[in-house]
């Protein structure tokens, strides 16, 4: 497959790969939560760059988009739980250093062995002119069931997480018999109700 790529693309993939691993390592080296978050984002963006070099534009930009928003949401929680701006309080970013090192090294070994030992299939047919369209047809066609299941599972997880995290339910907002016309919220929302 590499043979299909131009020299530029191979070089870009190599550089971005190193970059993504390096900023992945930086996540555990820096001592500020903000820097760790954005080192992680940098790693993801490098991966998005690799996808871009492989001409998988849609996957690349979706990776960048989703990961950025994800990291930004993480930042919200960071502010809530750590008000000191600019990361004034140095804090270590590692938990259970020994155990995680073992797990990490093990996973790396398994994946690396897998990459080099698996007999990867070769491309059948021509490279499509538009990888985005091909991807869309695959998602909405042969892989629709998988994608729908994953999508609904992820959505359910988000909802469940929110429900678990919220102490207040509808009975707190609308009363025991849910008859209150205006919800009893600490801060009113924007809708006139």
């Amino acid at each position: 497959m590499l043979s299909d790529l131009s020299g530029w693309a191979i070089a870009a993939v190599a550089v971005l790969g190193v970059l993504s691993v390096a900023s992945g390592i930086a996540v555990f080296v820096v001592d500020s939560m903000a820097r760790a978050t954005f080192a992680l984002l940098g790693s993801f963006l490098a991966v998005a760059g690799i996808l871009l070099a492989l001409d998988l534009v849609y996957l690349a930009v979706v990776t960048a988009l989703m990961m950025t928003i994800e990291m930004a949401i993480m930042a919200v929680f960071m502010i809530m739980f750590m008000m000191n701006p600019a990361g004034l309080m140095p804090m270590t970013m590692v938990h259970n250093a020994k155990g995680s090192a073992v797990v990490g090294a093990g996973a790396f070994a398994v994946l690396a062995v897998g990459i080099w030992t698996i007999d990867w299939p070769t491309r059948s047919g021509e490279q499509p002119p538009d990888s985005t369209r091909q991807l869309g047809e695959a998602i909405m066609g042969s892989h629709m069931l998988v994608m729908l299941t994953i999508g609904i599972a992820l959505f359910a997880t988000i909802l469940a997480g929110t429900v678990l995290a919220t102490a207040r339910g509808r009975y707190d907002r609308f009363g025991a018999d849910l008859t209150a016309r205006r919800p009893d919220d600490p801060v009113p929302g924007g809708l006139p109700r």
Binding site: M82, M83, N84, P85, L88, M89, T92, V187, P188, G190
Partner: protein, 371 residues
Amino acid sequence: MDLISRLGAWALARPRVLVADAPGSDGLRWRVEAELDRRGWPLAVGPADTDLLLVLGAPGPELAAAVDVIWSQIPAPRGRVGLCADDVAAALDDGRTALRERTRPGAADDRPDPSSLLGKEDEQSHEGMDHGSGHEGMDHGGGHEGMDHGGGHEGMDHGGGSEGHHMHHGGEVSGLPMASTGPDRDGLELDVLKVSLGPVLPGWPTGLVLRAELQGDVLSRPALSWLDAESLPACRPDLDQRQVALDHLARVLVVAGWSTAARDARRARDGLRSENRADRKASEELAERVTRRVGRSRALAWAVAGTPVVDRLRYWCDVAGVVTGDDLQVPALEDVADMVDGAEIGTARLIVSALGLEPVPAQRSTESARA
């Protein structure tokens, strides 16, 4: 050299101006704002976007110290002008000339190094830094305020806290007291930062300082006080009530982020004093237009719904028009503190600016008139 100073002169033809008005200099501030509007010089929001610092009237010692702190935070090239009652236009020209002098290569800046201010225990030490958070001294001065350095240590648990092994709250970093955790409005355990707002902020009564704890963007345990509370003038100069109302309206609108309406309210206020009859007439109409626009604005009503700002806005609009409503009482600082307790920081700012707080309460002036 010549090119650079010429470019500098062109660039600084319309400097951004931060106005710090001592209590009792409202009339002067209006004249200054009218002149700035005529010249198209923008009003600055804080020290970071200021070129020219205008100090109006005679600030008391505490406010003067706070203004010095603001001065220390204005990036070069910068200029500073004190203005009492003399010619506003000439003073502004002088300020601009001084400012342009500063752009010449080799013009020395007399700014002390922020870190040199850190080690000292005198009043300015923690204020002179451009940090603006960390502890009380936000970068808009705070002057002598915020010096209860120990305040940051309250309620923090060195180690052994509930935050787990890797996070140590409290303590000091770079000489700044760090946030510590505390229960918040919604029953969570969140970080608490001690902050102080004032004494010089856009749309804020100059000299007022609000000290509070900040969790996220929610203020709690607020306490308000006036700088130089002992040495304030005995009574306020007599000003036209309509102009006062338009001024208050303009200040609320600045805080509410409605720049065009605030501009119109200021212009109406300034025009009402005009000698020219046609100008006065036009300003009457402008005042009417702007109060109608504000009174009818659904977006503004929506933005401030559920706060005391709603009544106040209506009141200022009524007074600014010819409608004479009931005299609204200016609440005591303790009551204001109750109003802003648990409010989001922007709401708190709106409430404070809408109440029309004055360092010298109106009652005192009527009492002195009786006596």
